[in-house]
Amino acid sequence: MKDFKYANSILGVLFFVLGAWCYWESGEYVPWVEMEGQMGAHIFPRLFAGALMFLSALMIFMDVKQFTKATIISFDGIGVVFVIAVLCFAFWYFIPIVGFLSTATLFVCIITAIATRKLRIFDYISVVVVLSFIYFIFANLLKVPLPRGFFI
């Protein structure tokens, strides 16, 4: 994707939809008991959702009228970010099934592979050593509970 200049308008629409949805959702929170001085649970979410809709409309307006400089972004590197993000969520998904230490070992090795794009054994050994060290500190010294799975 080349330099894309309608980002602000599109974002404005997205935020407007988010605001509208929050506004609609908070309709559910109207209190069932009336009490003197008691503000319902819906007031604040409604207020904020309304503000979000107003601001995003303002942003679209200013972008279309070109009052503000268009935000020009390039998505040249989005591919690698997308891969990393997917890996992160996969990591999260597999922790409770496989276990923290084993999943994390695989995860850091893949991340290092992407970072270096080489297969230098030394790099992998060093990240695994660092990982074991962190694990040792948290699990054994600080006794902080860590996610567990089938294999550690």
Binding site: G37, F151, I152
Partner: protein, 322 residues
């Protein structure tokens, strides 16, 4: 790395032996650490209770306890987690009245029906306190004041907690208007009471102990059945003619289907621990009263409490709304 490998291997072996040898494992219960689920964060009331109790229990049984904090949602997270574990006696959960209140308010899919009771450990009470600078020093004076001034502002721990239920019932019986001000922690509400921002506060006596001794706070009454032992001069509300007895309690439960042997084993260990001097001291220091009940009795007690709170919540218009 070798250590890790050995650990992996050891774990694998133990898992396999567990799969094939459940019967044998049970005969020697407990033969591995017992996970004790706490539904407050480290340092919270339930957390300190469990950790103190585990320390006293540990010499009495061959395996250690592993406290696991699963805080959130008035116990809903802890209940969901504990209920998802195997009912093999190696997972137990510490409970308070939230055990029945949170499900009754529709905030937890898991509830007493998903657990077997092991034992009740202690009971405590809530008290109604006012600042010593206030123009009222007794409950009757407070009622007069409230009637003259169109109501009082009353601090509690949020809608649907045991202290809110008790106070709301009391205010209703006394015929006074109470504007309930919800607070998140004992510190904030106490500061508001001392600063004169709220008129009345319902709280745990142990959180007020220092202020009571220093004469900053006056107790008007307790929600216990009889006078609360540490404060014999404070009347109970039942004594004053209001039928509001709302005990709070601490107990231990396990996921439904836990073997009877394991439950009895733990219950008798807890009973022994309650008899220890150090535990008695801990309880008195924290305003708790030892009140052991075994699994069967505690189960019946929970069912009774469940019905009681459901009825009270319904009369307050709070029950299981969606």
């Amino acid at each position: 790395m070798k250590k890790v490998k050995i650990a992996v291997l050891a774990l694998f072996v133990s898992v396999v032996s567990l799969l094939f040898g459940v019967e044998a494992a049970l005969a020697a219960y407990p033969d591995k650490p017992i996970e004790w689920v706490i539904w407050s964060s480290p340092g919270g009331g339930a957390d300190i209770f469990v950790r103190s109790m585990a320390r006293i229990l540990e010499p009495l049984i061959p395996q250690p306890f592993v406290p696991v904090n699963k805080s959130g949602g008035g116990g809903a997270v802890g209940m969901a987690y504990a209920a998802s574990k195997a009912a093999d006696g190696y997972t137990i959960l510490a409970v308070t009245p939230n055990f029945v209140l949170t499900p009754a308010l529709g905030r937890s899919p898991k509830g007493p029906a998903d657990f077997d009771a092991i034992a009740r450990v202690a009971v405590e009470t809530n008290v109604v306190a006012v600042s010593s600078k206030a123009p009222y020093k007794t409950w009757a004076e407070l009622v007069d004041y409230a009637k003259k001034n169109g109501g009082v502002s009353w601090g509690s721990f949020g809608v649907g907690t045991s202290d809110h239920v008790a106070s709301a019932k009391l205010a209703k019986l006394a015929g006074i208007t109470a504007r309930f001000v919800p607070f998140e922690g004992g510190g904030d509400s106490l500061a508001s009471l001392l600063g004169g921002h709220i008129d009345v506060l319902t709280n745990n006596p142990s959180e007020l102990a220092e202020q009571i001794e220093a004469g900053e706070v006056v107790l008007l009454g307790s929600f216990s059945e009889e006078r609360w032992k540490p404060y014999p001069t404070v009347p109970s509300f039942r004594e004053l003619g209001y039928d509001v007895v709302v005990p709070t309690w601490r107990g231990v439960v396990a996921p439904k289907g836990t073997p009877k042997e394991a439950i009895d084993y733990l219950a008798s260990a807890i009973e022994k621990a309650i008899g220890e001097k150090s535990f008695q001291d801990y309880l008195t220091n924290n305003g708790l009263e030892p009140a052991f009940q075994n699994g069967t009795d505690f189960g019946l007690f929970v069912a009774e409490q469940d019905a009681f709170y459901k009825q009270e919540l319904a009369s307050l218009g709070l029950s299981n709304k969606k």
